[in-house]
């Protein structure tokens, strides 16, 4: 290992060194492969068990299905008052929140990154400071306000508190700071309006960061649990991930229906896995923004 890590420097290029390095390479790759397989095993189980019948999950929980069946996926459409509706709720809430949230953050980030105006740094610092305050403190007042407005079990109650994200603002501003100001000044001299500077110049050049934020924002809302649990009481208005933990047998009751639960987890995860595979670099660079520079 040690000699392998120092490979950048020309050293005694002996035969022994080369064999040591080869052993290190093989050992490291074997280790990482085993690690990845173990780490992904729960994911495999989730996929495999969603294709087993409920009785096979009990007798054969850990391996490939003996009989592959789509019963669990059918159950999502048939039983439990039509679980598919909860997917629709999740989709409406997450998409709306992402579109509005990213738009608000992008406009504000543009001003914070490319304009000098009175109070800019103070406002920005104040916004960052609020990131220390746990969002949960707003749950009691928001619950009181929304119940007085008769907004429990409504889309607006699920969506509105999720739109503003200081993290998103910070992330986009960091990216926009690196966009050359000359680009904007040139367009300004050519007579572009402020809105055009934003919409035609800044948004297209910041597309990678905006895309990364959109993915992270969507994921955050799609995966949220505590707020929807607080604000919804009727099953038909609950996002899928709030309903899934409570799925019990439609006939016997109380027993968890693992097949349906796993199929629900697969369907709730699949969109995100697909987006991840398609945009993995964007995805992971979004995670990193703010962490390293800050």
């Amino acid at each position: 290992m040690m000699s392998a890590q120092t490979s950048a420097i020309p050293q005694k290029s002996s035969q022994r060194y080369r064999t040591e390095r080869q052993i290190a390479v093989i050992a490291a790759n074997v280790f990482l492969t085993i690690y990845v397989l173990l780490a992904l095993y729960p994911l495999f189980i989730m996929f495999l068990n969603s294709f087993k019948s409920d009785s096979e999950i009990l007798s054969n929980p850990s391996y490939l299905p003996h009989v592959w069946t789509l019963n669990s996926y059918q159950a999502i459409f048939k039983y439990h008052g039509g679980l598919w509706r909860n997917f629709v709720v999740s989709a409406i809430v997450s998409v709306t929140s992402t579109v509005v949230g990213v738009f608000l953050a992008a406009m504000a980030a543009f001003a914070f990154a490319k304009y000098t105006f009175k109070g800019r740094d103070a406002i920005f610092a104040a916004l960052l400071a609020t990131m220390m305050v746990p969002g949960e403190i707003t749950i009691p007042p928001l619950y009181i306000i929304f119940s007085k407005l008769h907004w429990l079990d409504t889309y607006q109650a699920l969506i509105i508190p999720t739109v503003t994200s200081v993290f998103g603002l910070f992330m986009l501003r960091q990216y926009m700071l690196s966009v050359p100001t000359a680009l904007i000044e040139a367009a300004r001299i050519d007579g572009a309006s402020h809105w055009q500077l934003f919409w035609n110049i800044m948004v297209p050049t910041s597309a990678p960061a905006i895309g990364a934020l959109a993915i992270l924002h969507f994921m955050g809302v799609w995966n949220s649990y505590l707020w929807p649990l607080v604000i919804t009481t009727k099953q038909e208005m609950q996002p899928i991930l709030v309903v899934l933990p409570n799925m019990t047998d439609p006939i016997i009751g109380f027993l968890p229906v693992w097949g349906t639960i796993m199929a629900g987890c697969v369907l709730a995860t699949l969109p995100i896995i697909i987006v991840f595979i398609a945009f993995q670099d964007k995805f992971m660079s979004g995670v990193v923004v703010g962490a390293v520079k800050g």
Binding site: L32, L40, I123, I139, P141, I145, I160, L226, W258, G294
Partner: protein
Amino acid sequence: MGTAKPVTTTQAVVTLAVRRRRIRWGDALAPYLFISPFILSFITLFIGPAIYSFVLSFFRYKGYGSATFLGLDNYKAIVTYHVFWTELRNTIFYWLAHVFVLMIAAFLLAVLVRSTIISRKNIYKPLIFLPNILATVATALVFQSLFGTEYGVINSLLGTKIPWLQDYGYARWVVVFLLIWHGIGWWFVIYLAGLTTINPEVEEAATVDGASGWQRLRYVTLPLMRNTFIFAFVIDAIGSFRIFNEPNVLVARGGSLANPDMAPLLNLLMSDLRSARFGSSAAVGWILFLLVLVVSYFQFRIMRGTGEEAE
């Protein structure tokens, strides 16, 4: 104004000045127009409710009728309630039991994947990250079926009947395991990015000076990664104090909350909310904020301090 329009000089000067002023007005106003939608929604959805929450924490309010001013009574009642201490202890346990293993494992994975002996970095990176993109609720459900007593995957592989989730002594560790398994990919990617910002020449210089791999990691890489570590530990601590999904989904069913022996601090906020003790619920939130503040402050001090000694 080089155009040959038949206007008098004074007229031209006047119109130019007017137009200039208009442009300046627009220029001055534009940034405020850009930030106002965000700022206004942030004030209505966060700052306003936060202030309301703070005021509420000094009152008894059932959601209807009038509110009674209590002074600090909500806070006093919380800190003398034994469940608060049990749940605080659980929260700190979940945090301390996972954070060191999580950070060390994620960092070592990042060091290994970045080292020259791994050539296919772009295959390992997304695969190691992958568990992190699952919703915590989904991961907790999968772990519930992994750690079932009668029909669980782990017990069937081991041939045992260990009550992983019925016995809270075990279940607490299942939560810790879940936190590590789920979090590793996230911090791995952050450490990997941090490592990439280190100038390779610095490390090469250390090697030329005869530093071993371990010495280089200890005296060159670790000090250069200090800010990333501070960031990671502080953010993870804040997240840990707000933990809710993992323990609750893992052991509770039917929309009920986890038993206090397993429950984190946020359960107290939830149970107060569900029994319409809104003032007390808000007070729990502010106690949580104070804890987060104190813990972050001490982490900053300790980590900045140890870093300076090493230098």
